[in-house]
Amino acid sequence: MIIYRRHGRVLVQGITGKQGTFWTEKMISCGTQVVAGVNPKRAGQTHIGVPVYATAKEAMAETPFDIAVMFIPPSAARDAALDAIEAGAKTVVILTEHIPARDVMAIHHAARENSVQIIGPNTAGVVTPGEGFVGIMPGHNQNIFQPGTVGVISRSGSLGTLVCLNLTRAGIGQSAFLGIGGDPMIGTTTRDALIALDKDAGTDAVVLVGEIGGAMEEAAAEYAASMAKPVVSFIAGRASPPGKKMGHAGAIVLGDAGSYPSKRKALEAAGVIVADTPSEISDLLLQQIEARFPSADLANAEGWN
């Protein structure tokens, strides 16, 4: 699972902590099906109406789940992720930032062996307006997220939130928001997310929010060239100095690799329209949709085709 659907049953690891509690309540209020939580010290209890287990494996035995989401500090993230993977989770959403790279590689290795989809690390999670969300996004805020047919991919949670807000203000609803994470080694890449949205019947167009560093936007551009659905992009970091990590561990330009011009060139060569500022995205998207779906009712966010 990359796009959240309400039939997806969610396990919250670290459910009893301050953030775990806060965001679990938000997820539930939004419609997300949270079926169980993990905290070894509170096993057997119920927390905010959710049964708590000692491990993901014990939770799976009694209250099966599909998706695990981790509110776990960096030093314990590897063990928690491996627990969820071995328990049989189909998807593990890793919100934690600053997990040692060695542990991240061990998590990805186990995920490959067990065919588990990892989202993150260092992601804000995924939102499907009207269905629910998994992570730390304001999925419950209807000024920001409205159901619709535009899929949004973003490495950054804050910038992704801004982009969805702008879309909603322009009357454009979203089929899904896919936060993929700001780390250099993430389980679901920009390209993976783009493929998921291309295959999604509820998605008519895609907004790809990238940033400097790495080669994920270039890899996604290769796929975008084959797509019939329009793709509009914004890449953050054009004004950032080279050789510095811009907050995200992955956001660093070394030589030409990962630079703004390299990404913009690759995307434009693939037919992707690149916006200069976030507020231009909505207009560019509407132009693209009008060009490809002339009969679309643009005032109505739902269903262009």
Partner: protein
């Protein structure tokens, strides 16, 4: 975090059994003259965590004690690539037959450790890869299998190593062990030299540790080379904030790396120049007071954009911090807000009531106003 050559050799290579030349670390020209007496003809090498030492004149051969003294005197105190040279490493000179290249790094594409080896050492590896791709071998490590002598032999198969195959396989396996044990992001030996007497030794070593793993690397992080940071950047670092000082005049305070970079981009798009990168997202979102103090302490700042879009970070908590700090610091520069996301209704009210300022509806408008005010 990065390490200078002698720390990398002493703390990483030598304990793992990777041969290094005999060397003595010197902090004064007198010590260098003394070291020469013990080593004989040697190299005098600036200890700075950068690959630009040779080009900057920081690595020179010495053939007498006086020469070692004078070279040390010239090199100590140099600034190379922003790093002040506080010590020189004197290393015995040996006859070099061939130079190889070896590295273990974390590869983002395969999400696995990657071992690279080239028979074309001593030069820039990108250049070597471009001119002699046949000389470069890759091995993506399967974490379950690991990387030992057998894998190293399989990796270098087909290369002519002048009979040093076993020594090189041992060294490659040791490098992988080091990278796992020390949480190295990168450990590189360039050149890895085959000497005329048949020994293979690491003439240089570059080591970068994963900052996120510092908590489990004991006292090793204390031996890291200091970062080149401005006073304000150091201040931010000490407060747990990522602050990068730039040369513009529009201060930036935003949450999240992506939104902060975007705020800088939009400033530049409207003809302004950002004065800083400062991220207060993630766990740091409660630190807006410290953040504001840092942004305003930058002497170039003529106006300020506060751009919050709360996902994880609660904008009401951040706004409260900014308003409290604003009242305390009483800055004279104009400030322009844009606030959306988690906690936005409370945050807008806090700014309106606390400072009498109405946030802009679009970040672009807040930025435009700030760029105009800075001119």
């Amino acid at each position: 975090m990065n390490f200078v050559e002698h720390v990398a050799k002493e703390r990483a290579l030598a304990p793992a059994g990777v041969p290094v030349p005999r060397g003595i670390l010197c902090k004064t020209p007198e010590a260098a003259a003394e070291a020469f007496e013990k080593l004989g003809p040697c190299m005098v090498k600036a200890q700075a965590p950068t690959g630009k030492r040779g080009k900057a004149g920081g690595i020179k051969p010495a053939f007498s004690a006086k020469e070692a003294h004078d070279l040390a005197a010239a090199i100590l105190g140099m600034t190379i690539d922003g790093h002040l040279v506080g010590s020189v490493l004197l290393e015995e000179r040996a006859g070099i037959a061939r130079e190889f290249y070896a590295v273990v790094l974390n590869d983002a594409k395969s999400k696995s450790p990657l071992v690279l080896f080239s028979t074309e050492g001593g030069m820039d590896i990108e250049e070597a890869a471009a001119t002699r791709p046949d000389a470069l071998k890759h091995w993506s490590v399967d974490l379950a299998q690991g990387f030992g002598v057998a894998e190293a032999r399989a990796m270098t198969e087909g290369l002519d190593l002048s009979g040093a195959d076993d020594q090189i396989a041992q060294i490659l396996a040791a490098l992988y062990q080091i990278s796992s044990a020390l949480d190295a992001e990168l450990i590189e030996i360039n050149p890895l030299a085959l000497l005329t007497d048949g020994r293979v030794v690491a003439l240089d070593c570059k080591l970068t540790l994963d900052d996120s793993a510092a908590f489990r690397q004991g006292d090793l992080s204390a031996a890291a080379a200091p970062e080149t940071m401005s006073v304000l950047e150091q201040d931010g670092y000490d407060s747990g904030l990522k602050f990068i000082q730039l040369d513009g005049n529009v201060g930036v305070l935003a949450n999240g790396a992506g939104l902060t970079m975007t705020t800088m981009d939009v400033i530049s798009h409207f003809g302004g120049r950002p004065a800083n990168f400062l991220e207060i997202g993630g766990e740091a979102y409660t630190k807006s007071e410290t953040a504001l103090r840092l942004v305003l302490a930058n002497p170039g700042v003529k106006s300020l954009v506060v751009n919050f879009c709360g996902a994880f970070a609660r904008t009401d908590v951040m706004a409260e911090g900014v308003v409290a700090a604003w009242r305390k610091l009483k800055p004279s520069v104009p400030v322009f807000f844009s606030i959306h996301g988690t906690g936005e209704d409370d945050a807008v009210r806090i700014v309106r009531e606390g400072l009498g300022i109405e946030p802009f509806d679009f970040m672009e408008d807040a930025v435009k106003a700030a760029v105009g005010a800075a001119q």
